[in-house]
Amino acid sequence: MAFTLNINGTPREVDVDGDIPLLWVLRDVLGMTGTKFGCGQALCGACTVHIDGQPVRSCQTSVDSIGDGAVTTIEAIGRTPQGAALRMAWLDLEVVQCGYCQSGQIMSAAALLKDTPKPSDADIDSAMSGNVCRCGTYQRIRAAIKRAAGV
């Protein structure tokens, strides 16, 4: 079945079953590999993208549920003020290690800062605890979010 998805501001046509998760449409059909596969069960947050500014786990978001929602991925989040500030903070504080989860971490953090420009530690815990990092970069993730937010 054909769907037209609005991805990073551009319409993209894909022909897949409606129950196929957005994650695989992004990665395998459209070749946008910045969004990562981690668990397939919305347990790790590696596949986080935004739909109309809200963070969603793309591994559990079927393509037929998106409609004309605006999908934003890691490749384009730097165009938003939150995304740009977070990337800069991530680089300043050397957050990344293996880097595999960081697309999802930044997407979750960007959604947090959009709604909560000056987050508390509790806000960070609540927004970011769905994102797993096995390298253990959490301490620097927290610091980088605060730096990007100027708190």
Partner: protein
């Protein structure tokens, strides 16, 4: 746009495949980690694959490539999986080559034992916290050789004495500084000069280092914050199919029934491949492959291991550990000293099977053709992987091309070639490049696990509480005996007893032995921290028990046994001081300390915990002191201490793989729990600076943290944790 970029990438790779590089290095393929072209944000990140021009390339050794455009490439022998090795090894080269760090781009080395062996491990493997230790000298020598040749080429052109010239930031200057030539301009001429022996070049005095020892920025960060970084799982090739697998849930079982028609009826599914041990569904995309695999409704014949259960595995260890094993260390007369001791302490310690659960699930892309086999994978062991593919395909070694990639978390998992082996077996039935991706469930349930170990310990104390006898028997799997048999001499696996055979303490009568016990139906392997990860928990917990039996403070007790070992004493004292050891804490709070010598480094940690009335444990703070000798990048060390600590702490709190009816009972992050941002303590790093030989860092905090935490739990509750993961039920406060 995507298609265009993808096509360019393939053309690059195909062009490269027709060429060979100098000095037998074979195909070089990798990522430019700096200076990558900026792509529109929509585009698939496919522009990082670069190649050197062969013509005029200055390649004085296996590591350096400089072409006439001035591009400086480090052919990097070790793989990046987060530990920062692309940065640290680039810094080692740049220091002597006299280029700026951001002038270097990195290419993954092909499998080549002669050029790229890790001298600490003896294989071209990334592991054992050995990369900086192994390449500390070779990469600086390589850089110095390169710099000398480039200076010589400039001096020849200017007709001056090379000794009057100097190099800086990739440019050679004459004595006056008025003449200068860039490395690019000199590359062709330098390539024609005879290459001096690396052993004869003079290296900088460490006091003159300008880059080594600084907090230089990671070279791989920028591509990891905008989705451009390419891991093995991101491989894309024209005509490529995507497969996902169901592996027999019981080791040694095979598929009994497969509903192929149902799988093939799913839109996008192209093929079902049944290789008995596993079934793969080949599709246009992973969504279809997963759906097809589910539709296939596979049933399994369990085979001989269908009755394997955890309780039986533990019982086997209990039984077999009653008889003596291969002696790893025997000094004095521990038996006699134990019999004559004023006080005796005995304990059994156990640690569980552990999965790696790296964020990037297992995957491998294979294109098997009549006369060659291309493998796209992130591997810690390229030469081993290549050898396994030779065995499987019958193709000559040179026809097996390993295109190595950034790894989304290794932790030892990618030291094994099993994922590649499975992908090649599947690819034999697929007439196209095929990317095989494991689901998270397959990844956890078909891991190669950190072994379960059971330890029997006894100690004898004299009247003053000093340990006059120490015996330690370790029973469990020998990873080394399977992985690298030549390292097992007379039945002794040096990894299984590492940090147990040589505790840092003065122990006059010590006897340590190893009983190899292989559980049926379980594959075991390396896990972050290797031998010390289980042994340090045991040794440091038992030492804490002895301090308690001797009615002494755990810090003071250890200090009393470390008088001969100033570096161990120094890290122990530093960690204790920074943690405020001895200052009062509320009820059910406690501090614990541990110290280790492993990977060539001395490490000590103090953990501060709070144990709630319901037994739940909150680790509030970890203070780590580390002496890893001369170091390359203190910021990376701090990151590794934070991350390595959490990796070990996660296992101590949650990690356990168990078997029932031959099957692994855990499957995803809801049953094999990772720590999350709202649960982690602050980790502080205190680095000792000295001129000792470099030591390893990445695994040190992983190995040491468990004992610090369980010793803190003892201080908080009086309850000794002798098996991991920590059983919070046993820590409830008495009513």
């Amino acid at each position: 746009m995507d298609r265009l970029i993808l096509t360019n990438r393939i053309e690059d790779e195909t062009a490269m495949s027709r060429r060979t590089f100098l000095q037998g290095t074979g195909l070089l393929l990798g990522f430019a980690l700096t200076g990558a072209r900026t792509e529109p944000v929509f585009a698939a990140p496919a522009s990082q694959v670069v190649e050197n021009e062969v013509t005029g390339t200055f390649a004085p050794n296996g590591f350096i490539r400089i072409n006439p455009t001035g591009a400086v490439t480090l052919v990097i022998p070790m793989i990046e999986m987060g530990q920062g090795v692309y940065t640290s090894l680039s810094m080692l080269l740049a220091e002597e080559l006299e280029v700026k760090l951001d002038q270097i781009q990195v290419q993954h080395a092909p499998p080549n034992h002669a050029l790229y062996v890790n001298s600490i491990i003896g294989i071209q493997n990334t592991g054992g916290s050995a990369s900086v230790r192994a390449f500390w000298t070779p990469l600086r020598q390589a850089g110095a050789v390169g710099r000398n040749l480039l200076i010589a080429a400039a001096a020849k052109r200017w007709n001056v004495d090379p000794a009057t010239c100097r190099a800086s930031d990739g440019v050679v200057f004459d004595a006056s500084g008025s003449k200068h030539l860039s490395y690019g301009e000199l590359a062709t001429a330098a390539a024609k000069l005879p290459v001096p022996s690396a052993a004869n070049v003079r290296l900088k005095d460490p006091k003159d280092f300008t880059l080594i020892g600084t907090r230089a920025k990671r070279v791989d960060s920028s591509i990891k914050v905008d989705g451009r970084a390419l891991y093995g799982i991101d491989t894309r090739l024209p005509g490529m199919k995507i497969a996902t697998v169901a592996i027999s849930p019981v080791l040694g079982g095979k598929a009994k029934t497969v509903n192929e028609n149902a799988a093939l009826a799913v839109k996008g599914v192209r093929q079902v491949v049944n290789i008995d041990e596993a079934v793969a569904v080949i599709a246009d995309h992973m969504g279809a492959a997963k759906k097809g695999l589910e539709a296939a409704a596979i049933t399994w014949d369990d085979g001989p291991n269908g009755k394997v259960n955890n309780a039986d595995i533990v019982k086997q260890l209990e039984e077999e550990s009653k008889t003596p094993g291969v002696v790893a260390r025997n000094e004095g007369d521990a038996g006699k000293a134990l019999a004559e001791a004023a006080q005796r302490v005995d304990a059994i310690y156990q640690v569980p099977f552990l999965a790696h659960a790296a964020m990037e699930p297992m995957n491998c892309t294979v294109h098997l053709q009549k006369d060659r086999c291309d493998i796209w994978v992130g591997t810690q062991a390229p030469t081993i992987t290549q050898s396994r593919v030779v065995e499987l395909t019958g193709l000559p070694k040179d026809a097996i091309k390993i295109h190595n990639h950034l790894i989304g978390g290794g932790f030892g998992r990618r030291l094994e070639a099993d994922g590649t082996v499975l992908a090649v077996k599947i690819a034999k039935h697929v007439d196209a490049p095929v990317k095989v991706i494991w689901s998270r469930e397959e990844d956890i349930q078909h891991d190669m696990y950190r072994p379960y170990y059971l330890n029997r310990l006894s100690a004898g104390l004299d009247a003053a509480g000093k340990p006059v006898a120490w015996t330690h028997r370790i029973a469990g799997s020998s990873v080394m005996a399977r992985y690298y048999p030549p390292y097992v001499k007379d039945g002794l696996d040096p990894d299984a007893v590492e940090a147990a055979a040589e505790p840092p303490y003065a122990l006059p009568n010590i006897h340590v032995d190893f009983v190899r016990v292989e559980a049926p139906g379980v594959r075991t392997s390396w896990w972050r921290g290797v031998g010390p990860t289980h042994n340090v928990f045991v040794v440091e917990s038992f030492m804490d028990e002895l301090a308690h039996a001797a009615k002494q403070d755990p810090l003071a007790y250890r200090k009393g046994l470390l008088g001969h070992n100033p570096r161990a004493l120094a890290v122990l004292s530093l960690a204790a001081e920074k943690a405020g050891w001895g200052s009062p804490l509320p009820a059910r709070h406690g501090r614990g300390i541990s110290v280790q010598f492993a990977y060539g480094s001395y490490t000590s940690q103090v953990a501060e915990v709070e144990v709630a009335a319901d037994g739940s444990v909150k680790v509030k703070r970890i203070v780590c002191a580390i002496d890893c000798g001369m170091y390359v990048n203190p910021d990376t060390i701090e990151a590794q201490v934070q991350g390595g600590t959490l990796f070990g702490l996660t296992a101590a709190l949650h990690g356990s793989i168990t078997f029932k009816d031959g099957r692994v009972e855990q499957s995803n992050f809801d049953s094999y729990l990772p720590m999350r941002i709202d649960q982690v303590p602050v980790v502080e790093t205190h680095l000792i600076k000295n001129a000792e030989a470099p030591g390893g860092v990445g695994e040190a905090p992983t190995a040491i943290v468990s004992a610090a935490v369980t010793n803190a739990i003892f201080a908080a509750t009086g309850k000794r944790v002798r098996s991991l993961p920590i059983d919070t039920n046993s820590l409830k406060s008495s009513p």
